[in-house]
Amino acid sequence: MGTSSITEIGQKPVPPSEKLRRAKRQALLAPGLTGPALKQAFVMLRPEIQWKNPVMFVVEIGAFLTLLFVIQAALGHSASIVPITYFIALDVWLWLTVLFANFATALAEARGKAQAESLRRTRRETVARRLRGNAIEEISSTELKVGDLIAVEAGQVIPGDGEIVEGIASVDESAITGESAPVIRESGGDRSGVTGGTKVLSDRIVVRITAGAGESFLDRMIGLVEGAIRQRTPNEIALTLVLSAFTLIFLIVVVPLWPMALNAETYMTSYLGLTQRLRSLGTDVPTLVALLVCLIPTTIGALLAAIGIAGMDRALQANIIAKSGKAVEVAGDIDIVLLDKTGTITEGNRRATQFLPVEGYTAQQVGQLAAIASAADETPEGKSIVSIFESQSEAAVRVPQGAKFIAFSASTRMSGVDLPGGRQIRKGAADAIANFVRDQGGRAPADLSPLVDGIASRGATPLVVADGAKTVGVVVLEDILKPAMKERFDRLRKMGLRTVMITGDNPLTAATIAKQAGVDDFLAQATPEAKLAYIRKEQADGKLVAMMGDGTNDAPALAQADVAMAMNAGTQAAKEAGNMVDLDSDPTKLIEVVEIGKQLLMTRGSLTTFSIANDVAKYFAIIPALFAGTLPWLKTMDIMHLHSPTSAILSAVIFNAIIIPLLIPVALKGVKYVPLGADALLRKNLLIWGLGGVIVPFIGIKLIDLVMVGMHLAA
């Protein structure tokens, strides 16, 4: 049944999951987004919106001021030495600078909004079947309250977030995760959480609603995606402050240039013996505005909001919902990653790998007996014994008719089968089997003890098999490492993170697996208290700890961790305690979160460095131009050999404007993070964005000047 449902979903014309996936993989400049973003760029010119971005607000004021000069010149009252066309060109580019900045922000917002919109479409109103005693009443999903018990059957959509209190079901969560393979959700365990909008494919479950209408996970997700546009992280606030301060500093640099240029004009007028005052661009207000705009960090000022939104966006694309942008940002600073052994580092369960006989038996016999004993064993370990025996001996396990299975219990700590002939076959922990054999009147063979110890000491679990009073041999159960984990841990190590494995195993087993997997440290026999204590201890040393968890007993540790990622499949308590939720329930996602966090900071740092380094070249273009009318010998500074003073200033302004759209892709995609170690990474980025930031504008400004001359636009 489950399978058929999946096929059905796949055949539907446009399932919500597809919509979501499409929304998530939008092309950078998808036409559907650029249009509204362009419109929004104009809307954002309104001062009360522009004001939120101090750097660009200054540009807007400058553009407006220049507009006044254009009008003055158009009315024929210009006192300037330059033609009105220069003013108009200048003003157009100043407005374009603001518009480019607004466009970058609007585009990032549009991408976020498009995602929110596609999420919203999946949140359709559904019928909820509320349990009232034994009766069922049908109500709208919008009327659900926390604590309501809801029955959901195969083919029905779960009406709201909740926890399964009864039953087990396979659930299609593609509306949320975009992943079409169904997942199993069941009551009681750590896989009891279900999300509104997902669909039950098989069986019937009873769900207790944990979020009222409008507070569901999907609602919150939409709110977060849209909220990312407005919420600023601490680092972003600090950077905005620095950028504002730089704007103020450059205002301080530019404003006194007016009286200083006046000083030079006065002097040259008298030096040349002129009766009328000589004028230079240094006392021309629009030109000084242009200089100011070129100097203030417009590049990063324009892209800062986009970088932040794009960071949240990237997290969402990785199917991670962060409760705040801060959580993603902090992820970049993580020092220690706590990972559960089971399901993260190793495959979910231990598997049989070897059959070791004691004196007088063969491996084949051990395997056969163990397989018979496990034939009805539904535990993964039991199943693995059967499957490995069958694949080794290429024969199916045949259990005689009338065999009686003895299930594992915590008191006996063994399981097995009683065959019709009275044969009792058992498998279990070494001491439990030893007791069983003694009770049957047998004795443990001399070579058993070293065999068991040998297996245990290499981190595997020995399972002793007995046939009545005789001990036959040992089944070796081993943890199977997930593929490519070692590489992932190496990557984490290169990123400067320490990985710690958490396991309920004894220290010996834990140490072995830790070594095999390549984690840096482990926490054995971990109880919830031990996890909490471990995190607290590391935090007391100033370290930032990331943790992934799904169970209710993980909740305290999740709440304590700096970055706590709960799995979507996990319990509500875990999801509440964490500051982000992984929709794919993939424990290795932490690596991606850390990379997204690092990328976010790197992109900000790189573009800020670039923006400020750019100013050097602009000075070399503008200073000689400002004083060409009074101190023509400053032409020596004009190492780019620009055509004329006005073309020099326009080239600088144009470069300053068009670098913004050119860098939008970098802002949205982020600067690529390579785990090289801090020093190498810094060297690399300093060269690209620092040195590059000094050199690129020299080339860019010269090119723009050449183009303007080529098109006969330069005066």
Partner: protein, 605 residues
């Protein structure tokens, strides 16, 4: 030529290592003072202070120092040790001078030998030399302790005592012995009346008798060592360290230069020792040293290795086009004819305004060093440096962190460091951190405030004065050179440097002066206020910054952490200083020295 600067730098570095160890010991309180000294120290100890109390103590102390200075100078005519009957200085000059010495600037709008009695020289100047220098050192010590995470950072008054009594006094005593041996005057006498060798040199009286020369003297060997060691730089004579009694020989010049460098050098190392981050301090030291050598090489390269452009030939006639709307065609041609050189031997470089007894490169070397360490003493006329060479001292004042003044230079460097880490340090993909502590919004706000002060205090007043007669009425040259004079004056005031470009009419003189320089009052008040703001905001804000940063949790050092003791970090730090410095001051550099250098009128001709 190169021997002098190399010898000075090497010698200072060699002394700095052990001396900084001694200073660390003193500031850490790991010493046992002898009897009476300890008794006084115990009386001064008002108990451990937190950063706010420490800062308030610092400000109260400075207020007291200002009042003390103002009173001493105001009472000069009635005080002893004044046989030459020096009168009362103009009130604005007293205001400016009291601030100037309190802020460790020592910009002088008076001439020591003409306006000060020995009483003022001793009780005003020498007192301030010790105390104002110690203030900066204490501020740095406080910041270091805050960085270490201490909540209580010691007692300001005990720190002052330690610096003055255990550090400055012994070193000053040793240096003064060298100076006395070299013939520097050390006397309570105010002047000698002597007959000149050439009888008519000083003119004749009405009765035809040859006039005697008055040679002003005083306790110079006590005055000069701390003037230099405290990077004060206020001269006993108007000529400062160019005067033959303030700097008699090439050897005293060597030690004078050494004395002003030694503590700034030591403080960087002390920073590393007290924080337990010596390698990090060495990286900062190296960045400073490279810039330090750069300014010296620049000054020597453009002043000692090149002839005076005012005397050399300009064989090519040049023509410039100047846009002028009023001229026909909107353009005006400015033709500069070829100029024949003067028949002068210039192989020793530009000799105008130099004291040759110190050596050919001594003037340029001293000029660069005195601004780098914000001392402000001069042994040559900076006004007479070639225009391009004068960029070197200006850059020293603009950056204000190439070793810099007592403590404050290091503090300024920390500001650049924090800003550099915040901007470029993010490129390693972590929230920027310094000393393992995350740099947040509050820290950046304080750092930017402290950074803002310096350019505001230089550029705004220079602009105002340049456009009005306050400036043009005071400059001795028109055009770019005059602009440089104004620019230099405010740069010197804001950097708390105290050297003067000279050429500005800023001296009012005595209160009963009948013909004071017309704009002197404006200059007194403007530079006074500039010195005040530029001194204390960049001390208070970094202390608050360090207090906030110090309270944060220390993140452990890991492979993903930005390392602050590598060559890469040195480039980051140097790059930050140079790029920010260039962005702030390149326009004024172009208007002043660069325009003069490339223009047709060397030296404002």
């Amino acid at each position: 030529m190169w021997f002098l600067p190399v010898a000075i730098i090497v010698f200072t570095i060699i002394v700095a290592f052990p001396l900084s160890k001694y200073m660390t010991k003193i500031m850490e309180g790991k010493y046992r003072a002898p009897g009476i000294v300890r008794w006084i120290e115990e009386r001064l100890d008002t108990g451990e202070q937190d950063w706010k109390q420490y800062t308030i103590a610092l400000l109260v102390f400075n207020t007291a120092l200002f009042i003390y200075g103002y009173v001493i100078l105001s009472l000069q005519p009635w005080m002893p040790l004044n046989p030459l009957h020096r009168g009362l200085l103009s009130p604005t000059t007293i205001f400016m001078t009291a601030i100037s010495f309190m802020t460790n600037t020592n910009l002088q709008h008076y001439s020591g030998d003409q306006h000060f009695s020995n009483f003022s020289q001793i009780f005003f100047c020498i007192a301030n030399f010790f105390l104002s220098a110690a203030v900066g050192l204490c501020a740095l010590t406080g910041i270091i302790r805050l960085f270490r995470g201490q909540k209580k950072i010691g007692n300001f008054f005990v720190d002052m005592w330690r610096v003055v009594v255990y550090i400055f006094l012994p070193v000053a005593f040793v240096v003064s012995l060298v100076f006395v041996q070299q013939g520097m005057p050390m006397t309570y006498r105010s002047a000698y009346q002597v007959n000149t060798l050439e009888p008519t040199a000083m003119g004749a009286t009405d009765s035809g008798q040859a006039k005697q020369q008055t040679i002003v003297v005083g306790p110079l060997a006590a005055f000069v060592p701390q003037k230099m060691l405290g990077t004060n730089g206020g001269g006993f004579y108007g000529m400062n360290s160019a005067h033959p009694m303030e700097n008699p020989t090439a050897l005293t010049n060597f030690f004078t230069t050494f004395a002003m460098m030694i503590f700034p050098f030591c403080l960087v190392l002390m920073y590393g020792r007290m924080l337990g981050r010596f390698r990090h301090a060495l990286v900062i030291f190296a960045v400073m040293l490279v810039m330090f050598i750069g300014t010296i090489v620049w000054a020597i390269g453009f002043d000692t290795l090149r002839p005076n452009p005012g005397l050399t030939a300009h064989p090519d006639a040049r023509t410039y086009t100047i846009a002028d709307a009023n001229a026909p065609g909107g353009k005006r041609l400015l033709a500069l004819p070829a100029v024949a050189g003067l028949p002068v031997d210039q192989h020793l470089g530009n000799l105008e305004g130099k004291e040759m007894r110190f050596g050919t490169s001594a003037g340029a070397t001293f000029a660069a060093i005195t601004v780098d360490v914000t001392c402000g003493a001069v042994n040559a006329e900076h006004d007479s440096l070639t225009p391009m060479a004068s960029v070197s001292p200006m850059v020293g004042m603009w950056l204000n962190c190439i070793f810099g003044g007592k403590g404050v230079g290091m503090i300024n460097m920390l500001l650049f460091l924090v800003i550099g880490i915040f901007i470029a340090g993010q490129m390693v993909g972590r929230t920027p951190e310094y000393l393992g502590r995350k740099i947040g919004g509050r820290e950046m706000k304080l750092a930017m405030i402290a950074l803002l002060v310096h350019p505001i205090m230089i550029l705004m007043p220079t602009g105002i004065f340049a456009a009005t007669t306050w400036g043009s009425g005071a400059t001795s040259n028109p055009g770019p050179h005059g602009f440089s004079q104004m620019l230099y004056q405010f740069s010197s005031a804001s950097a708390n440097n105290g050297s003067a470009f000279d050429g500005l009419g800023v001296t009012y003189g005595f209160y009963n002066n009948t013909s004071p320089a017309p704009e002197a009052k404006q200059w007194d008040i403007a530079t006074g206020l500039v010195m005040l703001f530029s001194r204390f905001l960049p001390i208070i804000a970094p202390i608050a910054l360090a207090a906030g940063l110090g309270m944060k949790k220390v993140a452990p050092f890991g492979p993903g952490t930005l390392r602050d003791d590598t060559l890469t970090f040195a480039f980051l730090l140097g790059g930050t200083v140079i790029i920010i410095g260039a962005l702030l001051f390149l326009p004024v550099a172009a208007l002043g020295p660069l325009a003069e250098h490339w223009g047709p009128f060397p030296f404002g001709g």
